[in-house]
Every structure is written in C-alpha cells, then in structure tokens.
C-alpha cells in the first residue's frame, strides 16, 4: 500500500509536469512563417567561396547522425543530405541556427561554437552537396502510387520538377531519393505550420490534402530516382572518414 502511494505521487508529479510543459516556448513560435527572411547568414554564406577541405572537417560532427556518407537513416529519423543543392543546405542550416526551423536534435550542432562561423556553413554545404546519394533509401509500401503520381503531377511538379530534382536557385529542395518517413514527417510539419521556414505557396498548395493523399504522394516521391551519376554504387563508404 505504501508502495502504491509512491507510485501515485510519482504519477501526479508526472501529470503536473506534462501540464506545465504544454504551451512552452516552441509552441508559441508555431505558425509564424519565416520562409525566406532577407539578410542574415543565409545570404552571406551564399556569396562566399567554399573550401571543401575545411567542409570535410566541419562535416565530421554531422556524420554522427547523417553518417559519413550523408545518407541519413532509412527509417527517416535523419534525412539524406548527400547530393542536396548547395543553396538548400545553406538555407536549412542557417535557418536551424537562427531558430527559423525548429530542430532540437540538430540545433546545438548548427551553432558557431560547434561548427564555426558563416564560412563553415558555406564549406560544409559544398562538401555535402558533392556527396553521392544512397542507392537504397526508405520507401513507402507502394500501395497507392497511382494517386500519388496524380497528386504529384497536379501539385508538386512546378517547383520540385518532374523527377523531384528541385530548383537550387529558388531554394526548392531535391526530394527524389529521400527517405519516405522523413518526407512524411516534413510534409505534415509543413502542412500544420510547425515547420516555420517552409514556403507559404506550398502550405497553401497542400492545404486540402487528406492523410491518404499525404502518404500516397510521399510514397511516390520516395521512389523518384536521382540521376545515375549522382548515386553511389551499393555498399559505397565515404573514404574521407
């Protein structure tokens, strides 16, 4: 009985914590879109000349999660970043650093203290952009691809391209060959407004998507293949590490 009391007290404390935890700082920032704020490190980093050798050094810390190959994890916890457009990587890194994109796991590593100043953003982005992509990304279950293809054609092609290659000069990411579960998570966070640095045009475009639509179109995207010369052979490991 005394033991039950301890458990009850513990449960009450936990419930209290959860109540108090609701509505924290990160929630307040939700829905304040900051897609492409002018100025800041994004603009600066874009203009600098990349130093790939230094980019490799900076990348070492990234490799703990994104892997030495930049392939992330097939289960979608960490995205593939290999082969992403230089400009897109700069934007995302600068946005995470400036707290325009919420990413508690990566945030500490985006800070100058860990990776250095704006030159590091340029250097590591150039290094990552040149890494060959995984031949084995996570895909959906393939059960609704017809719907996915139609949705993609009607809603996504204009910005992300027929093959999901994106548009580097507009900061539209390459989404071909990305892990399905990562795509799903980002799509939902863009739709709900949680991902604050997303393009408002996209948020409007996908407003009416049902859950089935989201899964179908992301499954389709996860099966879009990157150009052959951008994809590593199976079993490739990054000789830099």
């Amino acid at each position: 009985m005394r033991r039950n009391l301890a458990i009850t007290l513990g449960a009450a404390a936990l419930a209290l914590t959860m109540l108090m935890g609701a509505g924290g700082a990160s929630d307040e920032k939700t829905n304040v879109n900051v897609w492409n704020a002018e100025g800041g490190e994004k603009d600066e980093a874009m203009k600098l000349t990349p130093n790939l050798e230094h980019g490799k050094e900076v990348y070492e810390v990234c490799s703990a999660c994104h892997l030495p190959e930049g392939w992330g994890s097939k289960d979608g916890t960490f995205p593939q970043i290999a082969g992403q457009h230089f400009e897109v990587i700069i934007k995302q890194l600068a946005d995470i650093r400036a707290l325009n994109r919420d990413n508690p796991t990566m945030y500490p590593f985006a800070l100058p203290k860990e990776i250095g100043g704006v030159q590091s953003i340029t250097d590591v982005s150039a290094y990552i952009a040149k890494l060959p992509m995984t031949p084995d990304n996570g895909e959906g279950d393939g059960s609704d691809l017809e719907l996915g293809a139609k949705l993609y054609k009607d809603n996504c092609v204009k910005c992300h391209g027929e093959g999901g290659e994106g548009k580097h000069e507009k900061w539209y990411p390459r989404i071909q060959g990305q892990h399905f579960n990562y795509l799903i998570r980002q799509f939902r966070e863009i739709k709900s407004g949680k991902r604050r640095n997303s393009n408002p045009d996209m948020v409007r475009q996908i407003e009416g998507f049902s859950d089935r639509d989201v899964v179908a179109v992301m499954d389709y995207v996860s099966r879009l293949k990157a150009p052959k010369d951008m994809v590593a052979p199976p079993g490739w490991t990054n000789p830099d590490f």
């Binding site: 005394r2 033991r3 009391l5 301890a6 007290l9 513990g10 404390a13 936990l14 209290l16 914590t17 108090m20 935890g21 924290g24 700082a25 990160s26 920032k29 810390v61 703990a64 999660c65 994890s73 289960d75 979608g76 916890t77 960490f78 707290l99 919420d102 990413n103 508690p104 796991t105 990566m106 945030y107 500490p108 590593f109 203290k113 860990e114 579960n181 990562y182 799903i184 998570r185």
Partner: protein
Amino acid sequence: MPDPCSFLSGPGPARRRMKIMRVHRLKGLVIAAAIAAAPWIVEANPARADDTAPAAVDAAAAKKLYLRRSCIACHGKDGQKAIQDYPALAGQRADYMVAQIEDILSGKRVGSPDASGNPRAKGMRGALVAPDGSRRITEDEVKAISGWLATLAPPPIEAVATPLEPDKATAAAAMFAEKCEACHGAAGREPLEGYPRIAGQKHVYVLAQMKDIKSKARSNGQSEAMQTILDDVSDADMELLAAFVSAQEPIAK
C-alpha cells in the same frame, strides 16, 4: 528479497539511508512513507559506482554502438567531452544511465526549455526514436553502452576561472553534507544505487538539473525525493552547490 528493515542496522550506506529518512521526516510523513516504500530504499548493499557495470563488457562492441547510435555527437569521444549543457558520462553509474536513457526515450524525463526553446532531453529523444515512434536502440544496447561508459575514467574536472573563496567553499561543503551526501555520497563520489555520481560533473549541467528538479520540470525517477530537499534551497545556494560539486575530483585521490 532482503529484509525491508535491514537498512536500520549495519554500517555505511545504511546510515546514509537513515539520514535520508530523517531529512524526509522533516518534510512530512507522506513523503517519508513514499521514500520508505520505494524499492531502492530497501535494496540491500548498494554497490560502489564502479561495481555496477556488468562483469564482462564487450568494450569494442559497446563503443561501436556509442558511435552508431549518435551518442558521440553530444556526449563526446568516450563520454568525456559533452557539448553545451549535456552531461559527461564516463564513469557514471550504469544503472542510473540505463534508467535515464529509458526515461528520455519514453518521454518521462524532460526539463525546462533549452537554448532552442524545446524541453531538455527532447533533442536526444529525436535521435533515438524514429518518426514512426519506434525505438532506434534496443534495451540491450542501452545496457551495453551504459555498462561500457561506467567502466571508463571520468574526464578531468573543469578548469574554473574563479574558484570558490575559502569561506564559501566551507559553507558549500557543509551544505552538501547536509543536503546531498545522503544520496550522492561524500563529495558526490559514491551515490546510492540508482543515483548519479555527481563529483566532477559539468557545472552547467549540475546547475540546470538542480533548477529543473526544484521547479519540477524534471521529475522522473528519484528526482521526486530531491524536490523536497531543494524546497528551501535558494538559487544562490544552488549556484554554490553546483560550484562545489563540479570542483570535486570524481574519484578520491
């Protein structure tokens, strides 16, 4: 099953438990009853921190897991060089680490907002729980990594720009003996089972945890017992205690 009253006799740790009982009785019988009923208090002989690791740890395999599960990114090579306000892990008690990792995975352990505005420990959860909610690390892997880290030598204590003045250091030592020693051991070196070794832990981490436990932002595991103790400890005294703890050699010289 050990005799539930065995802690009332015998040397060493048992006396410490009686002290906990005394402290908690001051705070009210309800808490004392809860403490007395908690399984960790009736456990027989709490082992030294160094004895908690499994007898045979496959160090090479555990170290590889430590790399592959991204632990190294935040806690540094061999748990020695944690970034930001994350804790050093080398030499920590294995049972404590296992419990904390599991609590972080399940969401039981959180904390006040970190620099990114998210509850502390959410970042770690993000690395170990996949988008579909499944674990990226098995219970056995948690045990293996914790067991290995426990065998490693703790990092050297941090260099401090301005050490505590002698009279403050004396006051801090006395406060530590009164408030903290019962559970964390002399100078925070030999904690009871399930409690962390805090001697030599990073100042910024120790202070953040004390504040989070006092405010109940963190209330997992046995931090409930500590909440009552911190009730009448001021912010200034927490600073003092953190400075004292982080300056202690992790292993007596």
